[in-house]
């Protein structure tokens, strides 16, 4: 015996041992007959339905249950439909002048009225909505792409020896450099020049100064994931680092990237309209919500309330959806409660 005070062997204990006879004890029997079967049956019936409900289904349900998500989706869908179809059917274009009706309020012909220069405000608002939506979505996607590449690479190599740490340090310093650059001044400098080629240059220009914070967060998340056992296991299997990054790390931070991209859309729209408003954003012959607002006349509210309301509705609906998405993806948030 290993322990002097260990006086095993009362009759009862002996009796208990008899119970470990395979014929008596189903756990043992199953283990003996087939070492695999002791717990292999997946839950049946009700429990099975639980098991087979996928992540995406769960997410969809939680998202749709959220009241603000419903409102946001409806408003956003309406605005997108308006942006696509309204300019097709409306009788005025954004640069058609109707000087006779200049500075007149909403009417059956000019739905939102006409500004001082004789331009139809509804036509301009809808055209501006188009441009702002394209720039907002494009910038958000490009920003996420940049930050994913920099963030995941920096986070992944940071634990890979001295050279990895050096590369990580270089990328972090690049992030810091972009953070201290006065981005507004550079945007004001480059935007009008690039606008002469195409208004789409606005997208990379805005993205270039917006990816840094997301990249930092993604770097930290990657560093955490690199230490998990399944990434470790991939390393010990000899999986190529690039494959590990795309197959193991990216899907596991994808939900966060989706949320950040969604919320990034509204940020990009506000950035673009702000620049356009002060005259350094979208230039003639294009029009954005910012340039529409630029033509305001404070004594005639119909010149600035409609574009401002559309802009606010757009940004708020996107934020409502983004926040609902975050709640749905986060199991500790209130959305998991019924």
């Amino acid at each position: 015996m290993t322990n002097p005070s260990d006086m095993r062997g009362t009759d009862e204990a002996a009796q208990l041992q008899a119970h470990s006879d395979p014929a008596e004890n189903p756990v043992i029997a199953s283990v003996l007959n087939d070492p695999s079967l002791s717990e292999q049956d997946l839950p049946q019936g009700d429990a099975r339905a639980i098991e087979s409900m996928g992540r995406s289904e769960l997410l969809r349900r939680r998202f749709l249950r959220n009241r603000s998500a419903q409102i946001g989706m409806v408003v956003f869908a309406l605005l997108v439909l308006l942006a696509i179809f309204a300019p097709m059917f409306y009788q005025y274009g954004p640069f058609e002048r109707d000087l006779r009706n200049a500075l007149s309020g909403p009417s059956a012909y000019h739905w939102f009225g006409v500004n001082e220069r004789g331009l139809d405000i509804f036509a301009r608002t809808m055209q501006g909505l188009r441009i702002s939506l394209v720039i907002g979505l494009g910038t958000a996607v490009l920003t996420s792409f940049l930050s994913v590449v920099v963030g995941i690479v920096a986070g992944f190599v940071s634990s890979k020896g001295r050279w990895g740490a050096l590369a990580d340090g270089a990328l972090v310093n690049l992030i810091n450099l972009f953070l201290v650059i006065p981005s507004l001044l550079l945007l004001m400098l480059f935007s009008p020049v690039l606008q002469q080629r195409s208004w789409l240059w606005m997208i990379p220009l805005l993205a270039l100064f917006a990816w840094m914070l997301t990249a930092r967060v993604l770097r930290a998340m990657t560093q955490q994931l690199v230490r998990t056992e399944y990434v470790e296991a991939a390393k010990f299997m000899g999986v190529h680092p690039v494959v590990t990054m795309t197959r193991h790390i990216l899907p596991n931070i994808a939900s966060w990237i989706i949320i950040d991209t969604t919320l990034g859309v509204s940020g990009a729209i506000l950035g673009e309209t702000g620049l356009s408003f002060i005259g350094f954003g979208i230039q003639y012959p294009q029009v954005s919500l910012g340039t529409v607002l630029q033509d305001y006349n404070i004594s005639a509210p119909y010149t600035w309330i409609p574009p401002a309301a559309v802009l606010a509705a757009l940004v708020i609906s996107i934020n409502l959806m983004g926040e609902a998405l975050r709640d749905a993806l986060d199991p500790t948030s209130g959305a998991s409660r019924l």
């Binding site: 208990l16 041992q17 087939d34 695999s36 399944y230 991939a234 197959r247 596991n252």
Partner: protein, 587 residues
């Protein structure tokens, strides 16, 4: 025994969820009397923790509760939060599972204990409460209590943190102590000390105690009565001897026989499932082929004089080396073909560092690692890549070891894809592997979250087996699993060993698990192997002091034995404040 401290009648707790109502506890009734220790035993998800949170009034607002809980004649559900707060910490106190997260990291330990004292006794001065905290720390056996009270939780070891938690729990001499898996996060020698402390604290205070645990070994030495729970319902309740020696229900018997027994050699009978299964597998093998002596079999892994030293540096701008942490300090061992070597030791002894050194397949800092006769330092990139399929690893936590975003078929395919297997061969092997580890081939398209812990660990083993490895490194493969599941996984591993001739390096802190599966045992402590030898020799005649200590600390699921091993550890004089001054003046 007549004073009823806590009575729970017909308690039912349900939670709403995505998939309809989840019943966490159903129709649970029990009573705890003054000075009595009740153990609630069950596997994970059986509702044992939820029922005790209900007693504390700590369930989330979404839970709907029915039934009645009466604490010293007061009905818990009729009290508001303020009245409950008066009870918590004063009449009931709780010891949580994870001592790391149960103490606030930004406050001094002494202040946290003093806080508990002052909340319920506002008339005491801050200085008196501090002095009391020091007394309490001394009572629970913390050396230099005066200095320790001024330290932060991160400066305490796991065992000391749990002692501090117990000090906090007994600070106001509660009528009822609830201990929720108090030793699960601790090493086995520390676990024994903490359980002894808890027991003597309970005896000293005469408090009723509810111990929640999954470990029958802990129960045997502690409880007066046992309540077994399964799937949210009570299975059986009774006196401890009755439950252990004359269990009425089948589930209780299964639970008892699934616990690996460290005190039973294989020749003495088959008290545990794993042992029984392994013995049978072993017999089958002996009958078919005569065993080749160990010395004549080729070595799969040889480790010679392995060192791994981490420098401890100081300074922000210029790093200077101020010391070194010798994580692995010159260890040597070898594993022959078809052999299972167990590496046993407590946390921080260098087990995991050793594994990582082996798995890296790089030149170690000092020493030599040879796999199949080839030195790892001399490998070319290509050879190393090929060798990755020969040495594979199964991780401890089946939840963390599988990528949650990949179907298990892809998880098992991954190592084969790296080695360049063809698509048909992979499909064939995935099917075979799933069958081998006891899952259905249809499961390949499912995601890890759809499986239980034991099933996930089987997937982990299937992944390790994917490319016909020569050696599988098992890093505590069963410590995160319930006992009945653990038995199944162990039996499967033993079966694989004999059928496929794989060698295992089995790392564990649990001697009772290792006894049944390993051929040889290496006991590790502070980076060194203090003892290595055949399993039976180490168990029957441990040579090193530390091996003896480890063996003596393993809880044994037998009340008579467990009681005979107990000692009194709580310092009664210090608790009653007889010797407080030297403690506080020392600070």
């Amino acid at each position: 025994m007549s004073d009823t401290i806590l009575s729970v009648r017909d308690l039912t707790v349900t939670f709403p969820s995505e998939h309809g109502t989840v019943r966490a506890v159903q129709n649970l009734s029990y009573e705890v009397h003054k000075g009595e220790a009740l153990a609630i035993v069950g596997e994970s998800g059986s509702g044992k923790s939820v029922s005790s949170l209900a007693v504390m009034g700590l369930l989330p607002a979404t839970a709907s509760i029915s039934g009645e809980i009466e604490l010293m004649g007061r009905k818990i559900f009729t009290l508001d939060d303020k009245q409950l707060s008066e009870l918590r910490g004063n009449t009931i106190s709780m010891v949580f599972q994870d001592p790391l997260s149960a103490l606030t990291p930004v406050y001094r330990v002494g202040d946290q204990i003093a806080e508990v004292v002052r909340i319920h006794h506002p008339e005491r001065s801050a200085a008196a409460a501090q002095a009391r905290a020091v007394e309490l720390l001394e009572a629970v056996g913390i050396p230099e209590p005066g200095r320790r009270a001024k330290q932060y939780p991160h400066e305490f070891s796991g065992g000391m943190r749990q002692r501090a938690m117990i000090a906090m729990a007994i600070a106001n001499e509660p009528e009822l102590i609830i201990a929720d898996e108090p030793t699960t996060a601790l090493d086995v020698t520390i676990q024994a000390q903490v359980m002894e402390l808890l027991k003597s604290a309970q005896e000293l205070l005469g408090a009723a105690t509810v111990l929640i645990t999954h470990d029958m070994g802990v129960v045997a030495g502690f409880a007066d009565r046992v309540l077994v729970m399964k799937d949210s319902r009570m299975v059986e309740t009774g006196e401890v001897d009755e439950i252990f020696y004359r269990p009425r229900e089948k589930y209780t018997r299964d639970l008892l026989s699934a616990v690996p027994r460290v005190d039973l050699a294989e020749s003495e009978g088959t008290a545990s499932v794993a042992g029984a299964a392994l013995r049978r597998v072993a017999e089958a093998v002996e009958a078919t082929e005569p065993a080749i002596p160990r010395e004549e079999r080729p070595a799969v892994l040889e480790v010679e004089d392995l060192h791994r030293v981490y420098p401890i540096t100081k300074g922000a701008l210029v790093r200077r080396k101020v010391g070194e942490q010798r994580a692995v300090d010159g260890i040597s061992f070898d594993i022959r073909e078809g052999e299972c070597v167990a590496l046993v030791g407590e946390s921080g002894c260098g087990k995991t560092t050793t594994l990582m050194e082996i798995m890296q397949l790089r030149t170690p800092q000092q020493g030599v690692i040879r796999i199949g006769g080839k030195e790892t330092g001399s490998l070319t990139r290509k050879e190393r890549q090929a060798l990755r399929s020969d040495v594979t690893i199964v991780f401890q936590d089946p939840m963390a070891a599988l990528d949650p975003r990949m179907p298990i078929g892809d998880i098992i395919r991954e190592p084969m894809r790296v080695q360049g297997y063809s698509a048909e061969r992979m499909a064939e092997r995935v099917e075979w592997l799933l069958k081998t580890v006891g899952l259905l081939p249809e499961h390949a398209a499912r995601y890890p979250t759809e499986f239980s812990g034991g099933q996930r660990q089987r997937v982990g083993v299937a992944r390790a087996l994917a490319c016909d490895p020569k050696l599988i490194v098992l890093d505590e493969p069963t410590s995160a699993l319930d006992v009945t599941v653990q038995a199944g996984v162990l039996a499967m591993l033993a079966d694989l060993k004999t059928r496929l001739g794989v060698s295992f390096l089995f790392v564990s802190h649990d001697l009772s698990v290792v006894r049944h599966i390993s051929d040889r045992i290496a006991v590790m402590r502070q980076g060194r192997i203090v003892e290595i030898g055949a399993t039976e020799d180490v168990f029957s005649d441990p040579q090193h002091e530390y091996s003896k200590e480890l063996l003596a600390a393993v809880p044994i699921p037998d009340p008579v034995i467990a009681r005979s091993r107990r000692r009194m550890v709580l310092d009664r004089a210090a608790f009653e404040g007889a010797a407080p001054e030297d403690g506080s003046t020392a600070a």
